[in-house]
Each structure stands twice: as C-alpha cells, then as structure tokens.
Symmetry: C2
Subunit: 360 residues, 2 copies
C-alpha cells in the first residue's frame, strides 16, 4: 500500500494524527502540502525562514498550539511551555527570538487564579529572554457537552489552549550557510544537552492516572541562552532540532530521512535519569520516544564537537551534555539505529502514531 | 465599584470574557496588560506594529483563534474565516499581508472530508491574495467527556479550532503618519463598505437552533484588495478598523473611548439588508452589535470622503459604501450616539459581555 492510498483509506482524524509520527506526517504531506504548497512550507521545518523586503537580516517564523493536561506540572505549566516551545523552534534555526503573538482559547469555568498563574509564568519567562508579547487574542468556549451531560467532576477540570507564534532574527553566525539537514555529512556527530524523557515523565506523573509517585521535573526551558553562547563563540554547527513530540527517536528519524543518511546512537552514552528509566520500565514505554521540552540536538563535524561540548557543559542548560551518536551512510534503508549495551544494532523506527499514553 | 474591584470579584472565566465587550476588555487590561506590559501591546490594537532591525519598512503582526460553530455556513467556513480575519487585522493597519502561520487543533472524529474542505477553502483565499502559509502546527485532542458521557449525537458534532498569525508590510501611503486613533479630529466622517450584521445572521441561521429560514450569506471576505485600491489612489485615511465581534457598536465605542471623542451615527444611513433586519427583530437583537467579517470602518477628513466613497463604490467589495456618521466632541461622557429615524439621540453603549446568543 503506498502512502497516497493510506490517507484515502481513513475517514476521520484520530488522536494519532497529531502525535508526531508517520500518520501525522502523511496528513501534512498529503493534505496540507497539497493545498498550501509553497517553497518555504515545503522545507517542512518547525520554523519557517522568511524574507522581508527592505531587510538585510533573515527572519524566522513559527507557530504552535499547546493543549497539555494537566495545566500545571512539576517544572512548568502550559504558559511556560507555550513560550519555551515556540522560542525553541526559533532557537534551533539559529534565531534570536524577538516578538511573540499569544492566543488563549479558554474553556469557561477556568479559574481566574489559574489564568493568573499562567500569565505570571509567561511574564517570567519572556522577561528572562528579553522578548515581548506584542499582540494577542482571547476566546472563551463552552464546555462542549455542558447542556446534555454535565457532572461536578467535569466542571472541575480546567482547560485552556494556548497558541504562540514567534518571530526571530537569524544570528549572523548561523545565516551563512543556513542551518539545514543539507549540511550533514558522514562522520558528523550528534550532541544532546542533557537527560531525555523528563517532560513526558513529569506529565505522566502529574496526571495521577497511574498512582505512581516519582520526583521527575519537566525539563521545560527556553534553550536560546545556550545557543547564544555557542553563537558568541563562533561554533560551526550544521543543524539543530528540538526533540519534542515523539522524542529523540522521532526527531532523529526525520533528520536521517531528510538527509538520506543513517544515525547510529550509542545506548551507553544516552543520558537518562534513573527516575525516567524506572517509569519507562514500569509503563513499558521507550525513553527514546518520550517528549522533551528543554533539549536540543546539535549536529556538527567531529572536529568541532569537542569545543561545542566543552562550552555546553560549562553552561547551566548543558551540564549533562553528551555526544550520543554519529552519522553514517544510509544503512538498510532505515534512519536510526541503536548500538545496544549488549552489542549489536537495533533499528529505532518511526512510530505510526504515538506511544500510549498520549501526553501532548 | 471601580474596574480593579470588578475583576477581583470574579472567580472563574465565563463566556462573556471572550465576547468583545467590557468584560473582555477588563480581563485584557487588568490581567494580561499587568503581566505582559510593553509599549507595543499597550496600544491595544488588533494588530501590532513591530520594528525589525535592518529593515526600512514597518511591519504588522497579528494573531486570532477561530472557534466558530458550525464549521460551514452560507458564505464561508472556518478556514476562510481564519484567513480573512487575520488578513483584515493587517489590512486595517494599512499593511499588505505577506505570510500566514496556521495552527489546527482538531477534535478527534473530524471527518477527513471536512478537513479537506477547510484546506481547499484556505488554499483558495490565500492564492487569491497571493499570500503564503509558511509554517504550521497540528494537534488532535480527545472529545473531552468521551470516556464518561458519550452519545451518538455528540460524536457527530465536528470540531476544529484554527489559529492564524499574520505578518504584513505597512504600505508607504499609510506609514507616515501611521493610521491611528490619534489622527482623529472633530468633524471627521465614518465610512463603512456595506451592509452590517450579515456574518452573525448567517451563523445564527446555519445553527438551526431557531428553525428560521432565511437567505443570508456571511460577508466573510478579505478586504485587502479594497484597501489596496485606496492606497494606490493615495487616499488620506486617518484610521481603519474591522467591526467583527460585538459589531460596529463595539468597534466605534472602542475608537471613541481611545480618541476621547464621540461618534454620532445616522440610523437612516446605516446599510442593513431586510433579511438581517427581520432576523434581528425576531430575535430581539440589535444589528449594531452583530458581527461582520468583511467590513471595514474608515475614518477620514470630510474633504477626503467623497473621493474615498467614490473609489469604494466602484470596487466589488464596496458597492454599498456609505458615510454613516461623524466625529463630534465628547458628548455626555459616552462614545457612540445614534441619531434615530424618529429624531433625537440614543446612546449606543458598549455591552458588558455579548448579546445572546453568542456566535463566535
């Protein structure tokens, strides 16, 4: 069955179409690209490089909606997440974030107290980054089934959807050449700035569906300060990406497919905390696919990585930085391979939809 | 009771906080401006004028979320609406729309057929305007009460929230001086490009809640081509605004309050179709407060209005253009007054929340 047929066979959109895996990619490529096709969108990056008339600099433009539940979790909340996620999409394109447009779609019944906590959180993170919310929108929607099926329990569940759009200015060091999968060469190394899976683990624990107790904080953070340090030191970076929905497995698969290479990651070198490892084992899920919200994957020539790693380890956002893998020629038609602790290579496939449970 | 107290007295967000009236304004001024305060946001316009380094031109930036039900209605659908609304927010600041960022938050169960219809609609309107969707995001959320209270009827209700963010480039003729309420002077005239209330009427009829039959099409349109015609002819315009949520009553009240003047509108000159007038009478609602999605209010010196009106009447988007009122000194502390058909002045107040029923 080819890809075209596979989308034609579905009649309705399911949760998995939003989970970051193959199903979402098919929806984007077969439906959205079919109708919205243009050279910028086609690059299929989280952030678009745009050209503005009368400007010498290059700019980046990105949008994301945040629907996370619960709204508050250890290490962050939906407000902080909405700013960090959008700022990170700009930062991994080498752009300094400038302006944020912010839209709230609030479900009636949200407490003013929760809304204020979200605003305080947005205020704190934008101030720390010296960026501004310059325009916004507010909509309030009904509890969808309020008229027919209403219970006290439904009423207490607070809901808000936040959409953030960001504009950033590409830093000179990253603008010629532009950061891109096209720069990747065999032998390049893969760097990550710390432990994986912590955002997803924190959300799962905060949901209390599992009655586990664990002390995992989301890694939710805006990683622009780390990237600015690398820029200031003229680091030669080939490309960067933030491994959010679908985790590093999904992000590395996308990179490998786009660049038509393979990536071998070394299980021994993967930074994973004991708490995340334990939770993943209990739930039978793989940390490679667990979402991160303060991580960046950097690909660079192996001659350049020692300098980059040293700078990152000295930065508060990169203390546990590691080289986790390297780029090889395309191997058996698959993008990502794991060199396991017991030896041998295991393929790390792109998921169809999401691991269960869904977290974003 | 002062404004500060009024927000402190509420505990939860209600539908009216998103309806465009006083309650929404309080929420924005007392909560959002408190935490996100900066000189650009403070201008409190639907679209922010932003300065980008290394650029000679000025740019505009705006975001809006669309939650309309039903998704399809005579004259448009949520996709067309999401593009037109954002493009119009740029256009009324005198900006040529350039790039769109587009986010879909889909409720599971949306048919692929509906999603494709929405995409076709977006594709059509963006192509006609020569603008591009350059970046996007897709999330899929659960039917919120699917686990507990599910019925076949709930299942068939299709839901999608679309957020669009737009960047536009301010046209030279509107950049010095910038369009602004600060330009308004006593004696200026108020122009509108056609019939009011048609979007709201079309949505109400499409909902079938009322079992009325009527042939009203939404005025949903991107009015940039009309504004470009005025720009090309070097029309001197003081300010423009699109009277959406809350209708012309709300928009004119905002303008009058910001400029500290009053506006007298002439009931005899208000363009309203018989169908809208009839529906409004049946429902006991006021067309002045009914939403529009293809209308622009233009304020200009009365020496300039004949030229503007002539150009507008010759344009397909302005055939029923009228001068509907004029600017006077602040009168009895209220922003908007209606010169009624039977004579005398009636105040046109800003609503607390929305008229019932809510439509956006």
């Amino acid at each position: 069955m080819n890809i075209k047929q596979s989308l034609k066979n579905i009649k309705t959109i399911s949760i998995e179409h939003g989970a970051g895996g193959r199903k979402m990619h098919r929806l984007i490529r077969e439906l959205f690209l079919k109708y919205f096709d243009n050279p910028i969108l086609k690059k299929f990056e989280d952030s678009a490089e745009i050209v503005l008339k009368s400007c010498d600099n290059k700019f980046c433009y990105t949008i994301d909606s945040y629907v996370v539940q619960p709204l508050f979790f250890p290490g962050g909340d939906i407000g902080k997440l909405a700013i960090c996620g959008t700022v990170n999409d700009l930062a991994v394109k080498g752009a300094r974030p400038l302006y944020i447009a912010l839209s709230f779609v609030i479900t009636e019944g949200l407490s003013l107290n929760s809304l204020e906590k979200i605003c305080i959180s947005i205020s704190k993170i934008t101030k720390s980054l010296k960026i501004f919310v310059v325009t916004g929108d507010t909509k309030v929607i009904e509890h969808r089934y309020s008229k027919t099926n209403w219970s006290l329990d439904d009423n207490t569940k607070e809901e808000i959807i936040i959409t953030t759009c960001g504009i950033g200015e590409i830093l000179p060091v990253f603008s010629n050449p532009t950061l891109s999968v096209r720069n990747i060469e065999i032998g390049d190394q893969i760097i990550i700035n710390g432990n994986i899976g912590e955002h997803e683990a924190a959300i799962l624990l905060a949901r209390k569906d599992y009655h586990f107790k664990g002390k995992v904080k989301s890694d939710c953070a805006a990683i622009y300060p780390l990237i600015e340090t690398l820029a200031r030191n003229q680091c030669k970076i080939k490309m960067m990406r933030d491994p959010t929905r679908g985790g590093i497995a999904t992000t590395l698969n996308e990179i490998a497919d786009d660049a038509n290479i393979s990536i071998i990651i070394d299980e021994n070198k993967l930074p994973i905390s004991d708490a995340v490892r334990g939770l993943a084992e209990l739930l039978g899920i793989d940390p490679l696919y667990m979402a991160n919200e303060g991580k960046v994957i950097i690909i660079a020539d192996k001659k350049e990585t020692p300098k980059i790693v040293k700078l990152m380890k000295n930065h508060p956002q990169g203390k546990n930085t590691r080289v986790i893998g390297e780029v090889t020629e395309r191997y058996h038609g698959l993008g990502v391979w794991l060199k396991t602790q017991i030896g041998g290579l295991r393929p790390v496939l792109q998921l169809e939809g999401s691991q269960l449970p869904r977290i974003c």
